[in-house]
C-alpha cells in the first residue's frame, strides 16, 4: 500500500469518526434523560458507532484511540444488556471519553503518544461495577470544552476547542447524489452549448447566436444556483453542540436549564455556519450564566425551578433569524446605563434621555465590558461588542429585547449567503471599487455651490453637515494614496484635481493631504484644466457615500457613483494580505476586477477615531436629544423661482421630473398620464395668491395621495428633503392653501396645506365624511406643546365637525382630564413635550380607573418604528403623522364612534 493511499484511508477514517462522535454526544444526552427506562435502539446506535471507531482505529494503527474506544465500548455493552443504569456519572465518563476521542482524532499523528490512562481507568472502574468518585479530577475538566470554565474567571476569549475548529475550516463537504447528478447534467449542457456557440461563430449566423446565448445564460444561472445549494448546510450543525454545552454549564453552575432547539433544518451558507458558531456560543453561555437564575431564586419568584432556553432559527424576509430566548432575570437597562455612566461612557444627562431599547444597546458598546465584571452580577455584556463585531463582519444584525424578571430575547439576523452580496460600485482614480450594501447608509451629492456652506472643519477633520449632525469625511483617494482626480461630466472624462482642501479651496494645506505621500505612477499624464470657471461646473460636486460599520459612521468621498450590483466575493492573493483596506475583490461584467473596500479598516487607516466607544455613546445620546426637539421633515420646492415652499415629507408619495409638454389641458383642468391613468395636476398659485408657476420646460410633479386619489402638484426645482425644527409662523403669511411660514436655510418658506389646496380646487372630493361630529359628540382633547401644530390639528378637527379642547403639555392635559373627564371622549397627543411627555401621559391615562377606557391617538413628526413600539407598549391605540389630515380625521372619527357606541 503506498503512503498516499494510506493517508486517504486515514483521512476517511477521521472524517467518518468525527461525524459519528457528533451524533453520539446527542444520543448520550438523550440516554441520560431517559435514565433507567431506555431507548434500546439508541443505545445500540451509540454502541455500534463506538465499535466501528474501535475497529477502524485498529485497522489504521491508532492503538491509543483503539484502547479508549474499547474501554467505552465495554461500559456501553453493560448499559446495553441492562447490567448498568446510565446514571449521570456513567454518562459523564462516556462523554468525557468521546471528548478525548475527538481530541485524539483532531491530531492523529500524535495520538499514539497521548496518555489516556485517566479516562480509561474511569471507564474500567465503571465497567468493574464501581461508581466513580463524584467530582472528576481537575485535569479532566480542562479536557472538556472550555464552556465549563467557571464564569468567575471572566474568560472572554473564545474557547480553545472552538478556536481550533475555527482555525481549521472543514476541507470536505457532503453533497447529496441527486444534487451531484444535477450538477453533472448542467455541466454537460454547458459543454453542449459551448459546442453550439463555436459552431455558430464559425458559420456566422447571427440569429442562431442569440438562441445559443440565451441557452448559455439559462444553463449558467441554473448551474450557479445548483452550486450555491451545495454550500447550504442545516444550521443544526452548529446548534447540535449546544445541548451538551448547556448541560455541562448548567451542571457546573448548579442550575437547571431545559434547552429547546427549533428549526434545526434551516439552511445557511457554509461560511456563515462556521462563522456564527463563536458568537452564538457566547450568547448561549451568557444566557445560562447570567440570564437564568439558580433554582432557589427562581422558585422564590414564582417561576418553575428549571429555566427554559429556546434556540430558534427561521427564515424571514430573505434572511435567517436566530433567536435566543430565555426566561431568566432579563437585562436591566437602567443598571446598564448606571454601569455605562460609572465607566464614563455616557453622561447622566444622556442616560436620562435614552429609551429603554437604547439602554439595552449600551451592552454592545466597546469598552462596556472590559472592567470589573466580577462585581457586576447582572452585567450580561461580557464581550458583547466582540459578538457585535463578528456579526457586522457577516453582514448580520443583533437585536436585544428584555423584560426584567421575565427573560431576554436576542435575535440575530443573517444573510442567507456571503458568497454573493449586493454592493454599491464607485469609482476613484479611474478604478472601480465595491462597497458592501450592508455598510451603506445613503448616497450624498453636494453640488459645487453648496460645498462651502456644508463642508466644515472641526479640529483636524473635515466634516459635512447632514441633517443636523456632523459626519466626518474621508477622501478615498487620500486613504489609498492615489492621485486625486475628478470626473468631468460634460467632457465625459476624468481630470486631475488640484484642490486639496474641500472647504477652503485656495489652501494647499489640508490635514487630509500628506504632501510626503508617494504619488502612484500614472501611465499617461492627464490634461489639466486651469480655467477659473471650472470650480463652478457641476463636475466639481462632491460624491459622498455615507457608510457605517460597528463603531464608525463616516462619509467617503469618491469620484463617481456607479450602479448597485450583486457581486461574487473572491479572495485576494497572499501578497495583498497586508493591504487592510480591502475585504476581497470581485469580477465585474466586463471581466475587469473591482476591489471590495473594508469600511472598518479604511476608517482606521484614516485614523478616524472620533466615534469610538464613548463618543459613539455620546452621539447616540445627541441623536436622542435632537429627536426630542420637534423635528419636522419637509420637502422644499419652488413654484415661481422667487418663492420657496415646503410640504411635510411624510405626505409626499413621489416626485417626478416631467417636461411641460407632458401636461395636457382638458377643459379648465390640467392632467398628465401617470402609471396608466390620468393624474390631476394643480399648482399653488391656483388657490393661493402667490407668483405663477415658473415658465420653464423642466418641471416637477410632487405626487400626493388623498381621498383615495393621486394628485400632482406642479413645481419647479430645486427640491430638497430637510429636517428642521424651525419656528413656524401661523399668522403672517397664512392664506388659502398656505398654513404658515418658516425661515428655512435663510429663506422665507411657505408651508403648503395640500388638503386645503385640493379642497379649494376640488370641493367635490371632500363632500362626504364631514358628518361625523355633532353637537352632542364628546370632546376631543388635543395635547401639543407647539402652538402651530396645536392650531393646525384643532382646525382640521373643527372643520370636520368635532368639538375640541386643547392643552399645552401632558401635565396640563392631565388637569383638564381630571376636571372634564365626563365630556372628553378621545385624546390626541404629541409625544415629545415638556413636563409630561406623551408616553407618560398615555401610561397614566391607561392605568387610571376613570380614564382607562379613553382611546389615545399619538401624533408624531417622525414615525420611527421604535417609537411606535414604545407607544404601543404605553397603550397608544394609533399613530398618525402630524399634518396628515386625512388619516387623522378618519382615525378620530372611528374611535369617537366606537366610544359613543360603547
Amino acid at each position: 500500500m503506498s503512503s498516499s493511499e494510506d493517508d486517504e484511508l486515514l483521512g476517511a477514517f477521521v472524517e467518518e469518526s468525527v461525524e459519528q462522535l457528533a451524533d453520539i454526544e446527542g444520543d448520550l444526552l438523550a440516554i441520560e434523560q431517559g435514565g433507567a427506562v431506555n431507548d434500546k435502539e439508541r443505545i445500540n446506535k451509540v454502541f455500534r458507532s463506538i465499535h466501528s471507531i474501535k475497529g477502524g482505529a485498529g485497522f489504521v494503527g491508532l492503538h491509543v484511540l483503539q484502547n479508549l474506544a474499547h474501554a467505552a465500548e465495554n461500559v456501553l455493552s453493560l448499559v446495553r444488556t441492562r447490567k448498568l443504569t446510565p446514571t449521570p456519572e456513567v454518562i459523564n465518563a462516556l462523554l468525557l471519553a468521546t471528548d478525548r476521542l475527538k481530541q485524539l482524532l483532531a491530531d492523529v499523528s500524535c495520538s499514539n503518544e497521548t496518555d489516556i490512562s485517566g479516562p480509561v481507568a474511569a471507564l474500567n472502574a465503571i465497567a468493574a461495577g464501581e461508581q466513580p468518585v463524584a467530582p472528576r479530577p481537575p485535569e479532566e475538566w480542562s479536557a472538556a470544552p472550555a464552556a465549563m470554565v467557571p464564569p468567575s474567571t471572566g474568560d472572554e476569549t473564545p474557547q480553545p476547542d472552538d478556536e481550533a475548529a475555527a482555525g481549521k475550516p472543514e476541507t470536505s463537504i457532503r453533497v447529496s447524489v441527486a444534487l451531484l447528478d444535477q450538477l453533472m447534467n448542467l455541466a454537460g449542457e454547458l459543454v453542449l452549448s459551448r459546442n453550439q456557440l463555436l459552431q455558430t461563430i464559425g458559420s456566422g449566423a447571427v440569429h442562431e447566436a442569440e438562441a445559443v446565448g440565451q441557452r448559455i445564460d439559462l444553463v449558467t444561472s441554473e448551474l450557479q444556483g445548483a452550486i450555491m445549494l451545495t454550500r447550504m448546510q442545516p444550521i443544526g450543525n452548529v446548534l447540535g453542540k449546544f445541548p451538551r454545552m448547556v448541560r455541562d454549564l448548567a451542571k457546573k453552575l448548579g442550575k437547571e436549564v431545559e434547552l429547546h432547539l427549533v428549526g434545526k433544518e434551516v439552511e445557511l451558507d457554509k461560511t456563515i455556519i462556521e462563522a456564527i458558531s463563536d458568537p452564538l456560543t457566547h450568547l448561549v453561555r451568557n444566557s445560562v450564566d447570567h440570564g437564568i437564575e439558580p433554582p432557589g431564586e427562581r422558585r422564590s419568584q414564582g417561576k418553575p425551578g428549571h429555566g427554559v432556553l429556546v434556540l430558534k432559527a427561521y427564515h424571514a424576509a430573505g434572511q435567517v433569524v436566530i433567536e435566543i430566548n430565555d426566561d431568566g432575570r432579563g437585562i436591566d437597562g437602567d443598571q446598564l446605563a448606571a454601569t455605562a455612566m460609572a465607566k464614563g461612557l455616557i453622561s447622566a444627562d444622556q442616560a436620562k434621555l435614552m429609551s429603554a431599547k437604547e439602554k439595552l444597546n449600551l451592552i454592545l458598546l466597546p469598552g462596556f465590558s472590559t472592567a470589573a465584571r466580577v462585581t457586576d452580577v447582572s452585567g450580561r455584556g461580557v464581550g458583547m461588542d466582540v459578538v457585535k463585531t463578528n456579526l457586522d463582519q457577516l453582514g448580520g444584525t443583533l437585536e436585544i429585547d428584555s423584560v426584567v424578571g421575565q427573560g431576554a430575547r436576542i435575535a440575530i439576523k443573517l444573510p442567507l449567503t456571503l458568497a454573493i452580496i449586493p454592493c454599491q460600485i464607485i469609482m476613484t482614480g479611474n478604478e472601480r471599487y465595491a462597497i458592501p450594501q450592508a455598510n451603506l447608509e445613503e448616497l450624498l451629492r453636494i453640488p459645487a455651490a453648496q460645498i462651502k456652506e456644508r463642508i466644515e472643519r472641526v479640529g483636524d477633520a473635515e466634516v459635512v453637515r447632514l441633517r443636523g449632525t456632523l459626519l466626518p469625511l474621508i477622501r478615498l483617494s487620500d486613504v489609498l494614496r492615489i492621485e486625486r482626480i475628478y470626473y468631468d461630466e460634460e467632457a465625459g472624462c476624468t481630470r486631475g484635481d488640484r484642490r486639496h482642501n474641500i472647504a477652503d479651496r485656495r489652501s494647499r494645506t489640508s490635514p487630509l493631504f500628506d504632501p510626503a505621500a508617494p504619488a502612484v505612477r500614472d501611465p499617461e499624464p492627464r490634461p489639466e484644466r486651469r480655467d477659473a470657471d471650472r470650480r463652478q461646473s457641476p463636475s466639481s460636486a462632491l460624491n459622498i457615500v455615507v457608510v457605517t460599520t460597528g463603531a464608525f459612521r463616516y462619509g467617503l468621498i469618491v469620484d463617481r457613483l456607479l450602479d448597485s450590483e450583486e457581486i461574487v466575493i473572491k479572495p485576494l492573493g497572499r501578497h495583498l494580505q497586508s493591504c487592510q483596506g480591502y475585504a476581497g475583490a470581485t469580477i465585474m461584467g466586463d471581466g475587469r476586477i473591482a476591489l471590495i473596500l473594508d469600511i472598518a479598516h479604511l476608517a482606521l487607516m484614516a485614523r478616524l477615531t472620533s466615534l469610538e466607544g464613548s463618543r459613539r455613546a455620546g452621539e447616540l445620546a445627541r441623536e436622542t436629544l435632537l429627536k426630542s426637539q420637534d423635528q419636522q421633515a419637509l420637502l422644499t420646492f419652488r413654484s415661481a423661482q422667487e418663492e420657496q415652499f415646503a410640504v411635510p415629507l411624510s405626505l409626499v408619495e413621489r416626485v417626478e421630473k416631467i417636461n411641460r409638454s407632458q401636461i395636457e389641458a382638458i377643459g379648465n383642468r390640467r392632467v398628465m398620464q401617470y402609471r396608466g391613468g390620468s393624474l390631476p395636476l394643480l399648482s399653488v398659485d391656483e388657490a393661493a395668491a402667490v407668483l405663477p408657476l415658473a415658465d420653464q420646460d423642466n418641471l416637477l410633479v410632487i405626487v400626493f395621495h388623498l381621498k383615495g386619489k393621486d394628485v400632482g402638484l406642479l413645481a419647479s426645482g430645486p427640491v430638497d428633503a430637510i429636517e428642521v425644527s424651525a419656528e413656524i409662523d401661523a399668522v403672517t403669511l397664512k392664506q388659502t392653501g398656505i398654513m404658515g411660514s418658516a425661515i428655512i436655510g435663510g429663506t422665507t418658506t411657505m408651508l403648503v396645506d395640500i388638503f386645503e389646496l385640493v379642497e379649494t380646487l376640488h370641493p367635490d372630493w371632500f363632500e362626504d365624511g364631514a358628518a361625523c361630529g355633532n353637537e352632542n359628540a364628546p370632546l376631543v382633547l388635543i395635547v401639543d406643546d407647539s402652538e402651530f401644530f396645536r392650531t393646525q390639528v384643532r382646525s382640521y378637527l373643527e372643520q370636520a365637525g368635532f368639538r375640541v379642547v386643547d392643552a399645552v403639555d401632558g401635565l396640563d392635559a392631565w388637569k383638564l382630564l381630571e376636571a372634564h373627564h365626563k365630556v372628553i371622549g378621545l385624546v390626541v397627543t404629541d409625544i415629545e413635550m415638556p413636563n409630561l411627555d406623551g408616553f407618560e401621559l398615555t401610561r397614566r391615562i391607561k392605568h387610571s380607573q376613570q380614564f382607562g377606557h379613553l382611546p389615545v391617538i399619538a401624533l408624531t413628526t417622525l414615525a420611527a418604528e421604535e417609537d411606535i413600539a414604545r407607544g404601543k407598549a404605553a397603550g397608544v391605540e394609533e399613530y398618525h403623522i402630524k399634518l396628515d389630515r386625512e388619516r387623522l380625521v378618519e382615525g378620530v372619527c372611528r374611535y369617537l364612534r366606537a366610544t359613543v357606541a360603547a
Binding site: L576, R592, I593
Partner: protein
C-alpha cells in the same frame, strides 16, 4: 529545484528576459503564459505588486519581477508577458520583459550562483547554467514569491 527523477537529470527550462539578465525556471512550475491585459491597480499594495488580474474567474496577483529583483520598475509594453505560477499559496503572476526559448539543460552542469548577476542579487537564484555562450540564472521561485522582503 530538483529534476523529476534522479535518473533523468535533464530538465526543460522556460527562459525569459528580466532587465539585462536571462532567467529561467523549470517549465513544470509554470501554468501558463499570458499577455498583460486588463490589469487592475491595487493602491496601498507593496511596491513590487503591479496589480491584480482576472484569470478566468480567479483573482491573481501580478508581481513586477524586475522590481522584486531590485532592478527598478517595469513600464509594461507589448512584449511583456505574465507567467502564471502555481505556488503553495495559490496562483501568482510574474511580469517579465520578454519571453525567450524553452531550453533543455542538464542539471549536473548547474553551477552555484554568483553574488550578483547583471544587477540581480545572487540570493534569488539556485544556480546558473551556461548555454550557447549565455548564462541562464535559475530563479528560486519560492524566494521570489515569499512575502518577507529580505
Amino acid at each position: 529545484m530538483t529534476p523529476s527523477s534522479p535518473q533523468d537529470s535533464r530538465v526543460e527550462l522556460a527562459t525569459f528576459q528580466v532587465g539585462e539578465a536571462l532567467c529561467g525556471m523549470e517549465i513544470r512550475q509554470i501554468q501558463e503564459i499570458n499577455k498583460l491585459s486588463q490589469l487592475t491597480r491595487a493602491p496601498q499594495a507593496p511596491a513590487d505588486v503591479l496589480g491584480i488580474l482576472n484569470l478566468r474567474g480567479q483573482i491573481v496577483t501580478v508581481l513586477d519581477l524586475a522590481r522584486r529583483l531590485g532592478l527598478g520598475s517595469t513600464e509594461p509594453d507589448s512584449q511583456c508577458r505574465v507567467i502564471i505560477v502555481n505556488s503553495a499559496g495559490g496562483k501568482v503572476g510574474i511580469l517579465v520583459h520578454r519571453i525567450s526559448d524553452v531550453v533543455s539543460v542538464d542539471f549536473r552542469e548547474q553551477e552555484p550562483p554568483p553574488a550578483n548577476m547583471r544587477g540581480i542579487q545572487g540570493r534569488f537564484f539556485t544556480g546558473v547554467c551556461k548555454r550557447e555562450h549565455r548564462l541562464i540564472g535559475l530563479l528560486d521561485i519560492d524566494k521570489v514569491l515569499s512575502l518577507d522582503d529580505n
